[in-house]
Symmetry: C2
Subunit: 153 residues, 2 copies
């Protein structure tokens, strides 16, 4: 009897992501990344910044929200799950403890449309796996809560 060993799946061990900050003036500045459109950044108004600009607090919440979406899309493709549209809204809660502020909770609420009733169970499974393996969610200390809504297209 011979035993067939599955060759181990080779994964690159690491990736590096680089960003830059410049043009700092008061509580504003520019975020740049190679080959990417610059983004004007600021403190939020409650921390003496200007309204209408992206803030580090927004980026923290967005990094989780966008990562969940992209992880879902990748896993749906692998599982052969077709879906119509994917939209989400997110809400991050920043709380003060004795020493400093920190995020205690981020809620992500995706609304995903499906083409048939049979896809609902698979879509739930895929989203649950996306939640478990979302690399940004796995890199933060706060609770990440996913509150999905699946709709028939």
């Amino acid at each position: 009897m011979t035993t067939t060993l599955t060759p181990p799946r080779i994964r690159p061990k690491s990736f590096t992501y680089r960003t830059n900050v410049g043009e700092v003036k008061g509580r504003t500045g520019t975020l740049t990344g190679e080959g990417k459109p610059p983004i004007w950044v600021s403190s939020p108004p409650e921390f003496k910044g200007e309204t209408g600009h992206w803030t580090p607090e927004d980026f923290f919440v967005a990094s989780i929200e966008v990562c969940l979406m992209l992880t879902f899309v990748g896993l749906a493709e692998k599982r052969g799950l077709s879906f119509g549209t994917y939209e989400s809204s997110s809400e991050g809660l920043l709380e003060w403890d004795q020493i400093s502020y920190h995020f205690t909770r981020v809620i992500v609420a995706p609304v995903i449309t499906l083409f048939d009733q049979e896809s609902f169970a698979t879509a739930r499974e895929v989203l649950a796996k996306a939640h478990d393996t979302c690399l940004v969610a796995n890199s933060v200390k706060c609770d990440v809560i996913v509150e999905p809504l699946f709709r028939l297209e």
Copy 2:
């Protein structure tokens, strides 16, 4: 003899930050926030995305980098520290463990110009305090390393 009690400093207990994702097509989509310019987002090329777009990995690194800058600016103002320019570059390391990827380290390297030799010690203190109290750095699991360079303007 009368004792004067300093009234406790009132701080709001919490703030909420909201973002949205939509227009999902393949591994791209749009990040929106009320009153803010939309940002086109994608997976990075190594996760089958398109080049030239902001990614969740970028936002994770940027949220720390921008938060450190804004915390430094706020504390410098409080301490009466004048500085010329503030620029920084950052590098986030994403590593694979047994189950999923996660960020293990973010290095932020600010270059700050100062007007006189006497400001160097204060600037170091202010940056160290910014590192300790940076609300995004306090919300992530990975190591946040700050490698500053102070220069005489």
